[in-house]
Symmetry: C2
Subunit: 412 residues, 2 copies
């Protein structure tokens, strides 16, 4: 019989936050409380940065009330980072794990973070330090492979879909054009999800452009003209990564993020100008922006439940001896929606991107199919009922710091 | 005893929509149903444009269900316009009123629209056509004089305040700067309202800039630096009309709207760049955009109740013989919030703008005072409970058109 490792656990939140990433942390904390093998459960402040700098807080010492509220608090309550670890950083992590008797490491992030998890797991396997490393999935982009969907997506999609319905009413009232820019560099899941709100042909969004497609500008303009003529207003949803194909979309900034990705933006404005010039109707633009990963009034219940479950399951599986895996979601049935958790190897998801499959994009390349909607709708259709009535007062951790054991770490 | 005019009524929605403008229309319809003096209640499509073109629908023939749902449907269900009427347009209105036996005209809008109402009222008084003209207040900007507040403001403020809290958690998670751009060309009510969410000093927004103030750029930068150093993150809320005073804020467009106002925008991006360069921390920006006047999940109950009441009261007062007035809100008590309706002459509000009083702006010119918060909080603090659980399916009118009686109107 497997004997669980005794020692401490550590969790970190990584990359862009989501509306439900804290639900995964709370799921992990509440599971860890049920395992006497876990003595201290540390939270790394700002992901791997907090591991490197030994900035770790004792999650078991936080108030139960704060933990409960944190489940419904958007964005990363521990702080986050976009750090891409170098070899020396990973070695430092191992030193920190040993110094603090960390036998369980959980990292909640996207495909970059799952790679980090795998590298740490490999390093541990090759050393004398026995530990379990499990990745917890998270991304509003829904672009992790193998898992049915990614916690964080459903709530972002609910906000984006609802926002498009509301912005559409503004465009309808004026008989205007409205272009809504949705997050998504390479994968158009979130932009496609806005079509879930279109229950009748006259409803918005009339045209939906994903980064997976390239469209001829003339076809784009004629599609806009036709939809405007038919409905008397026009709403276009477009991914920030959409281009006309012949050249890279102009970005609003020359700056790159920490992974060398260009900071995107400005596609809605560019398309708005083009439509205004081509069809002669005023085009307004809205960029849904950071609220897609933070706007808690639109939290999806299914999404929050999934996020909690993957955090809880990560701890349970780690204590049961699983290692070098990411928790996944398996869809059991669609209506009413039911899921279960499973696992996949970290290497199977690391650094990979799941695009919207071509057969889920319509023949005109300006929308998604019914299959996409059927897949997507249950993830975003149900609200969380315990949102605050007044304005929110989101909690912060008290932060009881673990004592430092090592000297400072100078990054290369 | 006053004998009410017998005939038909007409209502139009004007200017920028709000989240609750339809609640005023529903209040008017339901009041009109109780007055046998009103035979037909017409809705002008797209405000005055619909009057000029005789595009009027019969509101009494719409389904009761649609009317009920319309109360909670954002943006102008009849359509809206920004038309500034010329003398010949006003004369055309009188022809339409006579042709359709319109004895009651209600126009729901901001200070431009109240002026239009007054001009029509004057024209009617000077003619042989007896009719009552009443203005119904509406604006997310809250900048109408005399009335305690404007229906439309509370819901926009609720969205803006909640959005700032959510965006703030994103900035906090990264230790970044976040600049949120809020609507408001001249009046900073909506931007000031975001401070209602700041219940503790560490909470956002840390700095709030209204168009009523001019600030020295060096003072701005040092305020940003100090707040960032103190809290480890920084959230700035800024009105679209804010400038540093020495020159006009760059706008994103050279274009003017129908009233000759510049289309504003881009101030958050400009400030974000300045902060990034000055204090060396990444600054992200979000522009709350059109959702401020359309995002129904953040509808305020007090705002919806006020909007309904001013619509209802306009009809009741018109039938009782009042004319050439706008309905106002009088605050009776703050907690629990109670209000009553009253009236003021159209000329007292037409073309006037209520700015945030100087004594409600703090000494450092980077926030509002407790008195502002006390005024503002009850308007945005309570949610509407009957929002749809799934994604919204907002209704549209069936549109039974009134028969045209006149030839076409060619605008000068």
């Amino acid at each position: 019989m497997y004997v669980a490792l005794k020692g401490n656990a550590l969790i970190g939140q990584s990359g862009g936050p989501t509306i439900v990433i804290n639900a995964s942390m709370v799921g992990a904390i509440e599971a860890a409380e049920r395992h006497p093998e876990i003595e201290h459960f540390y939270g790394a402040l700002c992901g791997l940065t907090g591991v490197l700098n030994e900035e770790m807080i004792e999650l078991f010492r936080e108030d139960d009330d704060v933990i409960r509220q944190m489940r419904y608090t958007p964005s990363a309550g521990l702080g986050t980072c976009r750090l891409k670890p170098k070899e020396s950083d990973l070695e430092r992590c191992m030193e920190v794990f040993k110094a603090h008797n960390i036998r369980y490491f959980f990292y909640n992030g996207g495909n970059d973070s799952q790679l980090t998890c795998h590298l740490i797991s490999e390093l541990a396997k090759g050393s004398d330090w026995e530990m379990q490393v499990i990745g917890i999935p998270k991304t509003i982009d829904n672009d992790l492979v193998i898992t049915d969907n990614c916690p964080g997506f459903g709530s972002a999609a609910r906000y984006a879909a609802w926002a498009v319905q509301c912005a559409a009413r503004d465009a309808m009232a004026f008989g205007n054009v409205e272009v809504v820019e949705v997050m998504g560099r390479h994968a158009g899941w979130l932009t496609g999800a806005t079509q879930c709100g279109r229950k009748e042909p006259w409803m918005a969004p009339h045209l939906v452009y994903l980064p997976e497609v390239t469209v001829d500008p003339d076809k784009f303009i004629s599609d806009c003209q036709n939809a405007y003529d038919e409905h008397g207003y026009l709403v276009v949803a477009v991914s920030e990564g959409f281009t006309f194909g012949e050249s890279e979309q102009a970005t609003t900034s020359e700056k790159l993020d920490e992974f060398g990705h260009a900071r995107l933006g400005g596609v809605a404005e560019a398309l708005g100008h083009l439509i205004e010039e081509s069809i002669g109707v005023r085009a307004r633009t809205d960029c849904l922006g950071n609220l897609q990963r933070a706007f808690s009034p639109c939290m999806s219940k299914v999404d929050n439940d999934e996020a909690y479950a993957v955090g809880e399951d990560a701890v349970n599986r780690a204590v049961a001896g699983e290692n070098d895996v990411m928790i996944t979601i398996k869809r059991k049935q669609n209506d009413p929606f039911e899921f279960e958790t499973a696992t996949t190897s970290l290497m199977s998801v690391a650094d990979k991107t799941k695009l919207v499959p071509d057969e889920w994009i319509n023949a005109d390349r300006n929308g998604v199919t019914d299959e996409f909607i059927e897949y997507c709708l249950p993830l975003l259709n149900t609200p969380v009922s315990d949102l605050p009535a007044g304005l929110p007062q989101y909690p912060v951790f008290q932060k009881h710091f673990a004592e430092r054991k090592l000297g400072e770490h100078a990054r290369e």
